[in-house]
């Protein structure tokens, strides 16, 4: 470890600039020296043509909203199709949630105790009890509608985007036994395959016979999801929808059709309207308390350890920047970290541990100095002797957070993840950042 600290210093400076850049909020219309400045860290993504936005993801407990756990009743579903049915039910819920137009709703599936199929829904901002009921009030309805002459006044009728008049047929989701994604034998393109029950096959044959050259619309929850033209009568009970799909869109359609074919009744296992714990006024208060806490740490460390304390405070500031930067950066990856109150608790604990690492090192240095060792030796000994306790205490914290992450449910998981990230970065901050600063200053 006798490398020149200069490389490390450049690394630290580079990371700091990056972290500051990521953490900066959007700034617009700043007037300075007769010029107007605009700044947005996200502009780099738009320049690079990446459709991502860096933001802190706030959990429901910070933002407020509705959280639901739905139980899927799988009594009538064969065990082979349970997962498909659950995914289809999830798609339906997603579609209905999207109708509310809120940002960042979360819909997840979970299988508990091997046999409890659940859908977890989190809708930020929405707190109306009745809207929640509508969300799961009905099981998905899949129906087929045929094109009719635009002059005929049949009802119930529906008009699709191209102005085609449609009439409901007697064919429904219960007539479908199965849907899959397959690949066309002619051109290898993805297509969606429907297999009808024997009753369904009969109805489907009748309908396609009279609809050759016309459209047959597939309607889910009163929304047209696809309206292919019937090319020829289909008598065999197997239909294929080709429509220039990609594999993704074909899978999406198949899942939606399954939702109608495998209707899963849902019931609410738990539902809660979460008042934002830190609602806007008290968020300001808590931020103030956080800032105050930080100032207290800085003063305390400076009083106790003088110049060393100042260095530790700088290291701690960088630590906070790194952790926050990582949180914000994670929002553009598939593994976004959501900030919740429990996550913030984990963050506070990790700050405590970062401070502790500095205190351990400084106390040890003081001791070595008291024994009359030269300063440079005392610094190195302080680090190497304090290292074993920093290592062991942090590894046990990592063990705890790992176990909590494995076993815990939502809130506990969030806490564990933030704690683990915080501990890892705090080790880096104490051992690399503080040490490099000290070596440079006392060289």
């Amino acid at each position: 470890m006798k490398k020149t600290p200069r490389h490390l210093l450049w690394l630290i400076i580079g990371l700091t600039i990056l972290a500051i850049f990521i953490n900066l909020p959007k700034i617009s219309n700043i007037h300075f020296a007769n010029k107007t400045f605009n700044f947005d860290p996200n502009s780099i993504f738009s320049t690079l043509k990446i459709n991502k936005v860096l933001t802190f993801r706030e959990g429901l407990d910070l933002k407020g909203g509705t959280s639901l756990v739905l139980q899927a009743n799988m009594k009538n579903i064969s065990s082979a199709q349970k997962t498909a049915a659950l995914n289809s039910a999830k798609t339906i819920i997603e579609n209905r949630v999207n109708l509310f137009g809120v940002s960042e709703p979360l819909v997840q599936t979970s299988v508990a105790n091997n046999n409890d199929y659940r859908i977890i829904v989190e809708i930020p901002g929405l707190t109306d009890v009745n809207q929640i009921r509508n969300l799961i009030g009905t099981t998905a309805q899949l129906t087929f509608w045929e094109e009719v002459a635009s002059s005929s006044a049949t009802s119930p009728a529906m008009i699709n985007a191209n102005g085609v008049r449609l009439k409901q047929t007697n064919l429904t989701g219960s007539d479908i036994s199965q849907t899959n994604v397959s690949f066309s034998q002619n051109n290898g393109k993805p297509e969606v395959q429907l297999v009808f029950t024997s009753a369904g096959a009969k109805k489907f044959a009748e309908i396609t016979q009279r609809l050759v050259g016309k459209r047959l619309a597939i309607v889910l929850d009163n929304q047209i999801i696809e309206a292919p033209t019937v090319n020829q009568a289909i008598l065999g009970g197997n239909a294929v929808i080709e429509g220039g799909f990609t594999t993704d869109t074909a899978t999406q359609l198949s899942t939606e059709l399954n939702a109608g074919a495998l209707p899963v009744p849902l019931s609410i296992l738990s539902s809660s309207i979460i008042e934002p714990t830190l609602g806007s006024t008290s968020l300001v208060k808590s931020l103030l308390a956080g800032a105050l806490g930080f100032i207290i740490i800085v003063i305390f460390m400076t009083v106790l350890y003088g110049r060393l304390g100042v260095i530790a405070s700088v290291a701690l500031t960088l630590y906070t920047l790194f952790v926050l930067g990582l949180f914000k950066l994670s929002s553009i990856t598939p593994y976004g970290i959501t900030l919740t109150l429990s996550g913030i608790a984990g963050f506070i604990l990790s700050i405590g541990m970062a401070v502790d690492a500095n205190i351990l090192i400084f106390e040890r240095m003081k001791e070595e100095l008291r024994q009359g060792k030269p300063r440079a030796v005392a610094i190195e000994l302080g680090f190497s002797r304090a290292w074993t306790s920093i290592r062991d205490s942090n590894i046990s914290t990592l063990i705890t957070s790992f176990v909590l992450y494995m076993f815990g449910t939502g809130m506990v998981k969030g806490f564990a993840l933030v704690l683990a990230i915080g501990v890892l970065i705090s080790m880096f901050s104490a051992i690399v950042v503080t040490r490099t600063f000290l070596r440079l200053i006392y060289k």
Partner: protein, 299 residues
């Protein structure tokens, strides 16, 4: 300063805090929120102040629908009901019945948690605690394997976990008392605070143990209790400084943070103070007690 010499006084002090808590846990239990017990929280907003007679009418409606009310309270125009689980159908029936007898009102919140979910959260947290304790004992036993005889590294792991259990008992006991006398509910925030305390407790204990390990390697394990005493004294500054920093930050949060996190911060404060105390005055002295017991048996 001789901490080891007065060790039984320090154990006694811990017991004075823990025993009332244990009695409270046995007699009053924990005031769990519906998040864990399963049940419903409903808020009704009326156009005008509600009388106690009307509150009684609401209770009767719940009883008629075979739903047990645990608590019903009001503040201004709002009525808060904590009850057994109310499903959506029952909620519709009840709100209709309340409308019929008391006139129009708004259901402002509806929160219901099935007993399965509530139980799961608590059960998973407890499983996690047991598994984590076991793994920490394993890790410490491995990491302290170089401590010289006559002591053994397994004892370090076990004593760290005893200190951890001490801190959890202090926290649970005090919150059981708070729950009974002040109506403080144990909710998911409390679980978070408890997890934080667990992390802090083990962290703190290991720092002291690390010093004992280092000193044992240097001077050997002949005069064990003296080595432990010296190690505690050498790390005392650090223990006090670290927990003082954290305590100061928490006090700032207590004074200036919002109401909603008040009890969360109180739980953290209790846990941090208890964690520091137990790592200095319980975990390390226990190592000495263990050592003495084994030596007595040999004689």
């Amino acid at each position: 300063m001789n901490i080891i010499g007065k060790k039984y006084w320090y154990f006694l002090f811990s017991l004075i805090i823990i025993i009332p808590g244990i009695f409270s846990l046995l007699f009053y239990g924990l005031n769990l929120s519906v998040e864990f017990t399963g049940g419903s929280n409903l808020t009704f907003g009326f156009p005008k102040q509600v009388s106690s007679k009307e509150i009684k009418q609401i209770s009767t409606i719940f009883t008629q629908n075979k739903i047990k009310i645990q608590n019903i309270s009001m503040s201004g125009n709002q009525v808060f009901i904590k009850s057994g689980p109310v499903d959506q159908k029952q909620d519709l029936i009840i709100t209709q019945a309340v409308k019929n007898s008391l006139g129009n009102f708004q259901q402002q919140s509806y929160e219901t948690i099935g007993p399965t979910i509530g139980g799961e959260t608590l059960r998973n947290a407890i499983y996690a605690l047991i598994v984590a304790s076991f793994l920490i004992v394993l890790y410490i036993t491995w990491s302290f394997r170089s401590v010289p005889k006559p002591t053994s590294s397994l004892r370090f792991g076990v004593c760290a976990i005893i200190a951890l259990i001490h801190d959890i008992l202090v926290l649970l006991g005090l919150f059981s008392i708070f729950g009974h006398f002040l109506g403080v509910e144990m909710d998911s925030l409390f679980v978070t605070a408890a997890l934080t305390v667990i992390g802090f407790s083990v962290h703190d204990t290991i720092v002291v143990f690390d010093r004992i390990r280092e000193n044992l390697k240097r001077v050997g394990g002949e005069n064990f209790s003296e080595v432990v005493n010296n190690s505690i004294l050498q790390t005392l500054d650090r223990s006090l400084n670290t927990s003082l920093t954290v305590v100061l930050v928490l006090v700032a949060m207590l004074l200036f943070g919002g109401d909603s996190i008040r009890w969360f911060v109180v739980a953290l404060l209790i846990g941090v103070i208890s964690g520091t105390y137990s790592s200095v005055f319980n975990a390390s002295p226990l190592l000495v007690v263990w050592q003495d017991l084994i030596q007595k048996r040999k004689k």
